[in-house]
């Protein structure tokens, strides 16, 4: 195969083989004996648009379904999902993007499951939470009915078609059509009991998202009662007016992921949602970690000056923030002292969850956690999987993992 390089030059590369591409990751897995450590990846992705042929027929509304199917048919000129501009593949420098379609899989089994096993085995990941990619933009869709239909169809497909083919290695936090509060609750009530559903995901890429709106309280209560998680998954939205001053993708990307979590977490905390739903585990996904100390400092500072604006809070915002959960990727391993300080501030030993984000361009290996010089063994094990094991009730896959879970006080019957 060849890739487009500078000035139209073509560069010959082999077709994609995930196992080969990640051979060095597999070496790290062997060298660090990751088989003995339960590793849960709370944020990994597939490209669900490759499965739209199977997903869209699950839409309920016949008129919207016809529109979606027609848009995707040969010669169809519509588009089902809003897209945002960007260059995640860096002009093909991250070769797994342009080469993705060249990878061979067995046509008799879901391709995503096979690709998933390849990268999970290489990274030493035991379980991964499967999130979509394009559907993270569903909150930009102007029709809330279409948002609901797409989430509904995806949730059905994931639970009825995809997860059953993953040998129990993948789980999900299903997509909530947050633009439609009633539809959101209906999803929780319909799919909440299904196998492999650990929780719920709200994509935070939206023009407006009042997480404090009374319309959502029933949904939060329903999730809390089920003992499931509520995850806010961030993303970039270069077209958002906030980022239209950014003339490079790096700027919109670096700020966008953090920004949406900063925004919605602030609203969540200030409105006392942690007080209202104290047993609801809330996850903030894919924004890195560097933003968290900043928000803690800002909110604590203003909370002391303006307590009358957030009377539901009985403690400082940072204290509630420490009790929520954060996915680790993309972890800013730059200033090690700052990172160590961040870990202390968020109580990482109990709040941080390893995430790879594979196959996206800025994925992190488990070694990014394992090799941190300031972590003790308990923290390493908790972050890589112990804390997620408790949250999602994922059983250890061998005796050594079980013994490590027991040793570090994480083991729960699953």
């Amino acid at each position: 195969m060849d890739l487009i390089s500078d000035r139209g030059r073509r560069v010959q590369v082999e077709e994609l083989n995930t196992t080969k591409l990640l051979a060095h990751a597999a070496k790290q897995t062997r060298d660090r004996k990751f088989d003995d450590v339960l590793i849960v990846d709370v944020d990994a992705h597939h490209y669900e648009n490759e499965n739209f042929g199977e997903i869209l027929p699950f839409m309920e509304n016949e008129v919207l379904k016809q529109l979606a199917l027609a848009a995707r048919s040969k010669g169809g000129r519509g588009s089902v999902l809003p897209s945002v501009p960007g260059y995640q593949d860096m002009g093909g420098r991250v070769t797994r993007y342009p080469l993705r379609s060249s990878e061979k899989t067995d046509p008799s089994r879901l391709r995503d499951a096979q690709l998933g096993e390849r990268w999970m085995d290489a990274l030493g990941v035991d379980y991964s939470c499967l999130f979509p990619t394009g559907l993270l933009n569903v909150g930009l869709h102007p029709q809330k009915e279409m948002e609901f239909e797409l989430c509904w169809a995806y949730n059905r497909w994931v639970t009825e078609v995809a997860l059953p083919q993953t040998n129990g290695r993948m789980f999900t936090q299903l997509c909530l059509p947050f633009g439609d509060p009633e539809g959101t609750l209906r999803c929780v009530e319909t799919f909440g009991h299904r196998k492999g559903v650990g929780g719920w995901m709200v994509t935070t890429v939206r023009p407006k998202m009042p997480v404090y709106d009374n319309a959502y309280m029933k949904t939060y209560r329903a999730i809390e009662e089920r003992g499931q998680t509520l995850a806010f998954h961030s993303g970039p939205s270069w077209g958002d007016h906030t980022f239209q001053s950014c003339n490079r993708f790096i700027s919109a990307h670096a700020l966008g992921f953090s920004w949406y979590n900063i925004l919605h977490l602030t609203n969540w905390v200030v409105n006392g949602m942690n007080e209202r739903f104290p047993k609801l585990p809330v996850l903030w996904i894919e924004a890195g970690l560097a933003w968290i100390p900043f928000v803690m400092q800002r909110l604590d500072h203003e909370f002391m000056l303006r307590p009358s604006e957030c009377p539901l809070l009985k403690r400082k915002p940072s204290e509630y923030m420490r009790e929520m959960f954060y996915s680790s990727q993309p972890m800013e391993i730059q200033d090690m002292d700052a990172l160590e300080c961040t870990f202390r501030m968020i109580d990482a030993e109990n709040s941080l969850l390893y995430a790879s984000d594979y196959p996206h361009w800025d994925f992190d290996l488990p070694s990014t956690i394992w090799d941190l010089p300031f972590l003790n063994d308990r923290a390493r094990h908790n972050i890589l999987g112990g804390t997620a094991h408790k949250l999602f009730k994922l059983p250890p896959r061998n005796e050594a993992q079980k013994q490590n879970l027991i040793k570090y006080g994480n083991y729960v019957e699953c």
């Binding site: 390089s5 000035r7 560069v11 060095h24 790290q28 860096m90 420098r93 994925f363």
Partner: protein
């Protein structure tokens, strides 16, 4: 120090690359503008296969004397890019182009007649 046969120089065209293993060493050998360059194939970021990705010319932003930008342009300098996340290394030095202190281990390449060897 072990010498490992890489290939015939006559069959190693400009723009080609080979990956060879010598014990624990994994080495990428490039031929660029007639010269051979050899570097460790373990990326300094997270250990990815640094030499197995795209080769692409370095990008620069050109400024006019009044400091206004003329936009982005390819230069004639070549980089090779780690395919995992995009670390870009200078073909001639093995240095990361944004931080020259980060440098891949460089290996010696020798030719004996038409035979190319890397030394590790």
């Amino acid at each position: 120090m072990a010498e490992q046969f890489v290939g015939k120089a006559s069959e190693f065209k400009d723009g080609d690359r080979q990956i060879v293993r010598i014990g624990e060493h994994e080495i990428g050998i490039f031929r660029h503008e007639g010269e051979f360059y050899a570097y460790s194939n373990f990326c300094l970021h997270q250990g990815g296969p640094a030499c197995e990705g795209l080769t692409i010319a370095r990008v620069e932003e050109r400024l006019r004397p009044d400091k206004t930008s003329m936009g982005l342009h390819f230069t004639n300098d070549m980089n090779f890019v780690c395919p995992w996340h995009g670390y870009e290394y200078d073909m001639k030095t093995g240095e990361h182009v944004s931080n020259r202190k980060l440098k891949l281990r460089k290996y010696e390449v020798i030719t004996k007649g038409n035979d190319v060897y890397v030394v590790a």
